[in-house]
C-alpha cells in the first residue's frame, strides 16, 4: 500500500539567464526534488550542485513560468523555474 518512491519526487526544469549560465556552466537543468519542496529548498539543492551560485544568492531573482515568486513558493511537478541576476534592460 506504499506508493512507489517516484510519487514523492517531482521534477522541475530550471533555466539560468545572463551570467548565471557562466556560473553554472549550463543554461538548463532538470532537477528532482521532494514533493512539497519550496523554492528555497530547490535553491539549496542547486547551490550544492553549482557552488558559484552561492555568492549571488541574495540578489538572485526567481520566476516560475513568467511570474516572479518568493522563496516560500511551493513547487509543483512540471514547474519551469528561472534563476537570474538583477535585470538591466534599456
Amino acid at each position: 500500500m506504499f506508493p512507489p518512491l517516484n510519487w514523492l519526487i517531482m521534477r522541475v526544469a530550471v533555466h539560468f539567464y545572463s551570467y548565471f549560465k557562466e556560473l553554472t556552466g549550463c543554461a538548463d537543468t532538470l532537477e528532482e526534488i521532494s514533493d512539497g519542496a519550496a523554492i528555497a529548498d530547490l535553491q539549496n539543492q542547486l547551490t550544492k550542485k553549482f557552488p558559484k551560485l552561492a555568492s549571488m544568492q541574495k540578489s538572485t531573482l526567481i520566476a516560475v513560468g513568467v511570474e516572479y515568486q518568493k522563496k516560500d513558493y511551493v513547487l509543483k511537478e512540471g514547474d519551469e523555474v528561472s534563476l537570474f541576476p538583477p535585470v538591466q534592460g534599456g
Binding site: S18, A63, G65, V66, Y68, S82, G89, G90
Partner: protein
C-alpha cells in the same frame, strides 16, 4: 489603450515607427524616448552591448506594466521596442513612445515605465570590449 510591444534583434527604425503612429484628435502630447548604447560602461570603453532577454517572461512583465499604466494614466497608446542581441555603440537599444491628452501624464508614464522596466523586465546586458 493601444499597445505595441516588440522584442527583437532587428535594428530600431525610428522613421518607420513614427510613420506608423496613430493619434486621435483629443490627444495633445507625444513623449518619445530613445536609449542609445554609450561608448563606456563605468571606466571601460566598449564597442557594443549584447542584450539577452527571457522573451516570454519579458513580454508578460511588460504587459503587467502596461496594465498598471492603463489604470494610472489616461494614455491612448504605448509603443515599445527593445532590441536584443548585439547593439553597437551609437545604436538605439530601446524606443518608447507614449501618446496622451497632456504632457504631464505622458512624461510621468514614460519615466515610470522605464524605471519599472529596469526593475522587473528580464533583459540583461553584457558589454563587448
Amino acid at each position: 489603450m493601444i499597445r505595441q510591444l516588440t522584442i527583437s534583434s532587428e535594428a530600431i527604425d525610428e522613421a518607420k515607427l513614427i510613420s506608423e503612429r496613430t493619434m486621435s484628435p483629443g490627444m495633445g502630447a507625444v513623449i518619445y524616448f530613445l536609449g542609445v548604447v554609450r561608448d563606456a560602461e563605468g571606466a571601460e570603453k566598449i564597442s557594443a552591448i549584447t542584450y539577452e532577454a527571457f522573451s516570454k517572461m519579458a513580454e508578460h512583465q511588460f504587459h503587467l506594466l502596461f496594465d498598471e499604466m492603463e489604470k494610472r494614466w489616461p494614455i491612448e497608446s504605448i509603443r515599445l521596442v527593445h532590441r536584443i542581441g548585439v547593439v553597437k555603440v551609437g545604436e538605439p537599444s530601446l524606443w518608447v513612445e507614449i501618446v496622451a491628452p497632456h504632457r504631464g501624464e505622458a512624461f510621468a508614464a514614460c519615466q515610470w515605465l522605464i524605471d519599472e522596466m529596469k526593475r522587473v523586465v528580464p533583459i540583461w546586458k553584457k558589454p563587448i570590449i
